[in-house]
């Protein structure tokens, strides 16, 4: 796959992750490197993380999926900022 083709594939995967109702996350990062689709960013649940893999596989059945998204676990607020 040429560099140009890889860019187009990455853009189409990003579009699919934004539009597919299982994910609907346009904010995820997507790159295609040496035949692998690498997805990064945060998702709110393990179910949505698994959906990322499904959507990318459906988009690119001939490419390896490297799902590096993490399930965000945000702690209680720590500290207070005084606004002046």
């Amino acid at each position: 796959m040429s560099t140009d083709e890889a860019q187009y594939v990455a853009a189409h995967v990003q579009e699919a992750l934004a539009r597919d109702h299982r994910v609907n996350e346009p904010e995820l990062g997507v790159t295609v490197v040496k035949g692998r689709v690498v997805v990064s960013g945060h998702v709110p649940s393990e179910q949505r993380r698994e959906a990322v893999t499904e959507v990318v596989r459906e988009c690119c059945p001939d490419l390896e999926v490297d799902n590096r998204t993490t399930v965000a676990r945000f702690p209680e607020a720590d500290g207070v900022e005084t606004v002046r």
């Binding site: 393990e46 179910q47 209680e76 607020a77 900022e81 005084t82 606004v83």
Partner: protein, 257 residues
């Protein structure tokens, strides 16, 4: 001290509603009210809004929110806003709300906002109808924010948006997408009307702290930016006289859309 909790970009679906509820469960111990800067839902579905509403009902503080682009995705923004209002959330779009706390009054003016970019790299209401409509929408929402802010007569005044008013809180995002993340028109509205704080979300890879050209503090409270369930901002009580000590919320203007 008046304490305001703020968060954004929850992207709630049935798979994550209970986790979000757990994150926000103790907010009443730490703040007098909670702001949510848009993208409450994943896909803008009413079922997602219902799931979040059930978590927000009874958390013990007034919740004030604006919708984000995710909440518009399925073309049901009004239904989503109504479901949240039924749970006691003040959902703002071109309007303000006053929240009376034991420590003073807080006024929040809210709009979703929109894109267009920032000074030196911004779109104009010119050319194709689609481009003119894009910028016109941002102008309309910015004007609505300015009007709603100007009506607030409270100890603390806050502008609540989904889209960003300044580029500083976008640092970390690719510069190429800044025009899709916010507009200088929102900052101009804030500076004209005046505010103690401007809060937004939308830019997941951005930066928490910034300031408008007119000197108003801006905070990007997308959860992936603040890396906690919510941030808490405290305001020393200003010199304005407090009107009431009761806790509650009161709409102070009608929606403009």
């Amino acid at each position: 001290m008046i304490r305001v909790a703020a968060t954004g970009d929850l992207h709630v679906g049935p798979d994550s509603a209970s986790a979000v509820g757990e994150q926000l469960r103790a907010v009443g111990d730490k703040a007098d009210l909670l702001l949510i800067a848009g993208d409450l839902t994943k896909s803008g579905l009413t079922g997602e809004a219902s799931a979040l509403a059930s978590q927000l009902r009874g958390i013990g503080v007034q919740v004030v929110a604006v919708l984000g682009n995710h909440d518009h995705h399925s073309d049901h923004p009004n239904e989503i806003a109504d479901l949240l209002r039924d749970a006691g959330v003040a959902v703002l779009e071109g309007e303000g709300v006053r929240v009376d706390t034991p420590n003073g009054t807080v006024g929040v003016a809210g709009v979703k906002g929109f894109g267009g970019g920032f000074a030196g790299a911004s779109g104009a209401e010119f050319g194709e109808p689609e481009m003119k409509a894009f910028i016109r929408h941002t102008k309309e929402r910015s004007e609505a924010l300015e009007s709603a802010l100007a009506e607030l007569e409270t100890d603390v005044r806050i502008a609540l948006m989904h889209y960003a008013p300044i580029r500083e809180t976008l640092q970390g995002e690719p510069a190429e997408i800044f025009p899709f993340l916010g507009s200088y028109l929102l900052a101009e509205a804030v500076d004209r009307a005046g505010a103690d704080l401007a809060v937004h979300g939308h830019a997941h890879r951005g930066t928490e702290h910034g300031v408008t050209p007119g000197g108003v503090n801006v905070r990007n409270v997308a959860q992936t930016v603040i890396r906690q369930a919510y941030a808490v901002y405290a305001f020393e009580r200003p010199s304005r006289d407090r009107e009431s000590a009761s806790v509650g919320s009161y709409p102070i203007s009608e929606p403009t859309t």
